[in-house]
Symmetry: C2
């Protein structure tokens, strides 16, 4: 067994994963069955790696060094050769994944882990019949993983515990921040947390309490500042001289009241979607979305760098 | 009418407000009825202002310049003299506020706005009988307001719209980020959003899906990064080539399913509080909380500065 990585599926997610592994020193083989998929990824590396080097996000490597560690594999078989970890980032359709995992399980080295980037399909939905199903799990990143370190590891009921541990160790080694779910749940952890916040955000706008920009400011100029370097539990733990227990004693009744008011699941129907769409389009034309996405990634890169520097100077 | 500011109540919140107004060039009079309250605030300015200057968070002013704009008033009456805006940061007890607002309404200049820093008591609960109740509202900051710019403005049913507008203009002028609620709701906007996230965070731990540190990492190494410079609506608007509408069409069913699963209001009972407390105390002794709070404020200061620089270089 070597320690190379196979990236299967070279869309935005697969490309970003390639950089994660290659800048950490791993040999990476990329494969995409779509016509031109690999070539587009290679062109993206050429434009993106110098920018990342400038932002000091290549772990001290030169762009060429990282680039040389990534090779385009002529076939799935060739990509899997010598891989210890396969990061699958194929389209989010269960039938696509089921067919692909049958091939991966047949072709990958026997001790390779098969990890899916899926944001919502549990591994149990596409690995059940496989001989090697115990080496399959979900390793869901937040996009793009070369900027956002969080990866949630979600085992299927038949995933071997050692496989989760190996994947967690690999992710930590390459600079990601793995979290470990005990079992498959709808939306995993990240989208459950995001969904809880979004549900209340939609309700506030739908009920006319405030506008879309007000909710965004409440997070981006308020709660989101602390949340970018501490989680919600550490935040409340530091908000009372007696820690989280004191906080819960002081505010438990308020939060229980809020939880009861918020137990109100709503569908995002046309009226609320149109309203939010209208408020967003008033500040950002749809045609300007790609430029704004580029801005977001530049801001993310700047933030990640500033956060690393703050951690080095002040501790994490 | 002058344009000076009266800070009534000089605890952590009132002190931080003093810096917000004074670094923006306003004359500030501070008052606290508690023995030694004003003196403690003055000592805090002496230690904090130089640190803020070093972090470039005094709007280009020297510490001494900001300090000179803050005067200790010998009485409530003296503090209110010539004030256009009173920022009340008294203890969070409705009877304390009711008595204080009776005095404020009697003593403050007729055209002064009376704004409460309360995080949860609606202005209608302590201003109803006042002759000047139409000039009263909530202006709730996130602590500490000299680092976190968000302020939510919450009018009582009888607050004059012009009072909300004047307060929003003042807050924007001194560099805060005001949002405007249409009406009083439990928890206002900030704690409704925080509560929604916390409720799911507590559920995930209580149900054994993951641990306290996993939830914190999911936010601090994941969702919280984008949320520190974009809100949740802008985040999803940029996550689909067709904007928020496309995002809702693609993921509306998933989020509706999550909302149904999350419509499960729970009280934070002893078992879950003890579990979270245990996981937090394993990484942070209660005795180390003050040091960690100081760390948090340093990290916040660094983040605010880095965010301002990123905004100047890349746009907001």
């Amino acid at each position: 067994m070597t320690n190379s990585i196979a990236i299967v599926g070279c869309g935005l997610v697969g490309r970003a994963w390639s950089i994660v592994f290659a800048r950490a020193g791993r040999e990476v083989a990329i494969h995409d069955p779509a016509e031109g998929g690999v070539e587009a990824a290679l062109a993206w590396f050429d434009s993106t790696l110098p920018e990342l080097a400038e932002s000091e996000l290549l772990a001290g490597c030169a762009p060429g060094e990282v680039r040389e560690r990534i090779r385009a594999a002529p076939s799935l078989e060739a990509a899997l050769e010598g891989a210890c970890h396969v990061q699958e980032s194929a389209p989010e359709r269960v039938e696509v994944k089921a067919e692909l995992y049958a091939a991966l399980d047949r072709l990958a080295p026997a001790d390779a882990v098969l990890a899916s980037s899926t944001s919502g399909i549990p591994a149990s939905a596409f690995t059940e019949p496989l001989a090697g199903r115990s080496r399959c799990l979900v390793a869901h990143p937040i996009n793009p993983p070369h900027l956002v370190p969080l990866v949630e590891l979600v085992p299927a009921p038949w995933t071997e515990p050692g496989v989760v541990e190996r994947t967690a160790a690999l992710m930590a080694e390459v600079g990601q921040s793995p979290i470990h779910l005990a079992r498959e749940v709808t939306g995993f952890v990240v989208n459950r947390l995001q969904g809880a916040l979004l549900a209340e955000a939609f309700r506030l706008v739908e009920d006319g309490v405030c506008g879309v920009a007000d909710v965004d400011a409440a997070i981006a100029d308020g709660l989101g500042l602390r949340w970018s370097f501490m989680g919600p539990f550490e935040t409340i733990d530091l908000n009372s001289p007696t820690g989280v227990r004191g906080y819960c004693e002081m505010l438990g009744d308020l939060y229980h009241q809020l939880a009861r008011e918020q137990a109100d699941p709503r569908r995002w129907d046309e009226a609320i979607v149109a309203r939010i769409e209208g408020e967003r389009r008033a500040v950002l034309d749809l045609g300007a979305v790609p430029d704004r996405q580029a801005w977001r990634d530049k801001r993310l890169a700047q933030l990640v760098r500033a956060k690393r520097e703050a951690g080095e100077r002040l501790g994490d």
